[in-house]
């Protein structure tokens, strides 16, 4: 059976599983639509959260980024997992006790004003829509590569699948589908990693393989990699920082706070039965996430080594890396390179006309290295590799059996679809529940609201599809910005709502507006207003990129969060105090007892 047929079969099987689960778990009430009936076991909720959380960016792009960045890539690993510690301690149990469906509803009640709820809706939409762009482009990439259809057709298929299980199943359908999607994506990620770790280090566990010895030598894998990349003019793999220590610090903080502030993740903690379950469920979520996240650095380092070894035979033999015959002859390149060349994600240009591929850092500032490269007749790096292909091409690079490649296709699609569904639910519940039911049409019946939820879900899918077809940037970049937006607006307002009972509505709103405003201003200055090319206004700052203390726009949410806290504090001091009954409500939210009594809406 050829690879294409096998891929169709594996992907087809997983899709019928998702749709089957959706039919079984149809939502019959708003409680089921928004909170899956509020009775999901913490371990299952942890799995669903893991799938919800691990997006196309985690599955497809992250290992590739780490592979390019080396040590600096740790900011994604620590940032995207460390946020769960904050979530487990600072938000999840209290929001569960509060017992409503959505984040804007918490703002509306805690800050006793519909305006605060509206600001919450707007911040949520900004963050979730930015995020979903990355998911839909990821769906397009995965489909076009694996199913051999065009990028556009891929996005349409993705929309149709999400439509089937999200519109009818709501949170209930999404939860159980995500459990299945987690199983598919984690198998798809770890199986190739185990194979590759065995090949390169003889150790089947990638986490140990990364710290093991390179097969056939007494060098460690990381030591070998350090040597190879420095020989080729790159920075040392285990020490290369992302721009600066300060930038890395702020970037990590932005991702951590953003993780804890992303509404589609927070919503998952409304689905467990008790406060106690909310605490442990965050731990389970992190266990399931860490299985992938501790594998990713091994995948990254091994893929990098494999890539160099494929192109330069001296890497494995230990010979002269600069010798003419070490470089791969273009005509002899492996099939996987030919396949990826078609997608345009891998490009070769024979700059010195010798018919061989030289791949190295031609922007190196190391004089000794540049002299060696010039002496070897190298006239610039001849291979361009898009970071996104590292995970997808990995099984092919390591020459793994076809069924593994087909499984990776299914895993990538599961990751993108599960996160897209979670985000769509966050978006549609903000519109149908917070905007329509609580503000515009308070008389709406439950049946009417359920219908409104399904209609807004369908509309959101159309908008997401359109954004995926006309993406304003590449997948991983927009995802990081979504975290910045959530970090600078939602997290601080939630945290102050619980931990500072004197925080009033004026402070919270001013903080959110200031935080998200500062972050958007910085991002737009670099990437254009609403990411539209040509509207960048870096010129205002002398055209200098990363002009604020060398911090890059993707990391700026951390600064935005600080601005939010400071503005909120100052404004709350000079405006009318928070009413007594609200302060009592906050005290009540702080204790677990009576979690079931508070949320009558969850009874079923």
């Amino acid at each position: 059976m050829d690879l294409q047929t096998l891929t169709y079969i594996v992907v087809g099987l997983t899709f019928s599983l998702y749709v089957g689960i959706a039919v079984w778990a149809r939502a019959g009430s708003t409680s089921e639509f928004y909170a899956a009936g509020g009775a999901v076991h913490p371990v299952l909720n942890g799995m669903a959260t893991g799938a919800d959380w691990m997006s196309a960016a985690s599955f497809i792009s992250m290992a590739g980024l780490i592979s390019n960045m080396g040590y600096g890539g740790g900011l994604f690993l620590m940032g995207w997992t460390g946020g769960y510690v904050l979530l487990a301690m600072l938000l999840a149990p209290y929001l569960r006790k509060f017992g409503k469906f959505t984040v804007p509803q918490f703002f509306g009640d805690r800050y006793y004003s519909q305006a605060a709820s509206m600001v919450g809706v707007l911040c949520l939409l900004m963050a979730s829509l930015t995020y979903i762009i990355g998911q839909m482009t990821g769906v397009g990439v995965a489909f076009s590569r694996f199913l051999g259809v065009s990028n556009h057709t891929g996005i349409f298929i993705g929309m149709a699948i999400v439509f089937m299980y999200a519109v009818f199943g709501g949170m209930k359908g999404i939860t159980y589908t995500q459990v299945a999607q987690y199983c598919v994506l984690i198998l798809a990620y770890t199986i190739p990693a185990i194979f590759i770790s065995l090949q390169l280090t003889g150790n089947p566990i990638p986490q140990f393989g990364l710290g093991g010895d390179f097969v056939g030598t007494d060098m460690t894998l990381l030591g070998k990699l350090d040597q190879v990349v420095t020989d080729l003019g790159f920075g040392k793999y285990t020490e290369t920082t992302r721009y600066s220590t300060l930038n890395m610090f702020v970037y990590t903080a932005s991702l951590m706070i953003g993780t804890a502030g992303l509404p589609h993740v927070i919503m998952r903690f409304f689905t467990v039965p008790t406060v106690k379950a909310a605490r442990s469920s965050a731990g389970w979520a992190l266990v399931f996430i860490a299985i992938l996240y501790t594998t990713a650095p091994a995948v990254a380092a091994m893929a990098r080594l494999n890539l160099h070894a494929t192109i330069n035979s001296a890497v494995k033999s230990g010979g002269d890396i600069y010798a003419t015959e070490s470089a791969l002859v273009y005509e002899d390149r492996p099939d996987w390179m030919k396949r990826w060349e078609i997608t345009g994600l891998l490009k070769f240009e024979d700059k010195n006309g010798d018919g061989r591929i030289q791949y190295y850092n031609d922007k190196s500032k190391n004089e000794a290295f540049n002299a060696k490269a010039a002496a070897a007749g190298w006239k610039g790096s001849e291979l361009k590799v898009n970071a996104d292909i590292m995970v997808l091409a990995n099984p092919e690079i390591a020459m793994l059996p076809d069924w593994v490649i087909a499984l990776v296709a299914a895993g990538g699609l599961a990751a993108a679809l599960s996160t897209a569904a979670g985000l769509l639910l966050a978006i549609s519940s903000a519109i149908s529940h917070d905007l329509f039911k609580n503000i515009l049409m308070p008389g709406l019946t439950e049946k009417g609201e359920l219908m409104a939820g399904k209609i807004t879900m369908a509309c959101s899918i159309l908008v997401a599809g359109w954004l995926g077809l006309n993406p304003p940037g590449f997948a991983a970049g927009t995802v990081a910005i979504a975290f910045g937006l959530a970090a600078s607006s939602i997290f601080p307002a939630l945290m102050m709502g619980i931990f500072n009972k004197k925080m009033n509505k004026e402070g919270a709103m001013a903080g959110m507006v200031a935080g998200i405003g500062v972050t958007m201003f910085y991002v737009f200055a670099h990437k254009g207003i609403f990411f539209i090319k040509g509207t960048e206004f870096l010129g205002m700052f002398g055209g200098k990129a990363n002009f604020f203390m060398g911090i890059e726009p993707n990391a700026f949410g951390g600064i935005g969060a600080i601005v939010n806290f400071i503005v909120a504090y100052i404004v709350s001091k000079v405006t009318p105090a928070c009413p007594e009954h609200i302060q009592h409500m906050v005290e009540n939210v702080r204790t677990p007892r009576g979690a079931k009594a508070v949320d009558g809406s969850h009874a079923h």
Partner: protein, 84 residues
């Protein structure tokens, strides 16, 4: 808030501060600020700073949440505010 309510909240905040201190030390401390120095120490085939940034802090985060959940359960019972 009555007296035991205040004591409960104080116990909660103390626990959170302790967990966050460890959280900060392993990630921002060992993984970022002191990573260059720690890289001179080896843990198996890993330079230690690199290990904290790409493996260690994540293992510790997982342990932290379960320890926190367990200790919070104890505090809840001690102050008699746990769920029935």
């Amino acid at each position: 808030m009555d007296k035991s309510g205040k004591a409960y909240w104080k116990a909660v905040l103390t626990l959170i501060a302790q967990v966050l201190a460890v959280w900060f030390v392993v990630s921002y401390g060992a993984g970022i600020l002191f990573a260059p120095e720690l890289n001179n120490i080896r843990l198996g085939g890993y330079p230690l700073g690199f290990w904290f940034a790409q493996q260690g802090s994540m293992y510790i985060f997982v342990i932290q949440i379960f320890v926190y959940a367990k200790l919070m359960g104890k505090i809840d019972e001690k102050f008699d505010v746990h769920e029935e």
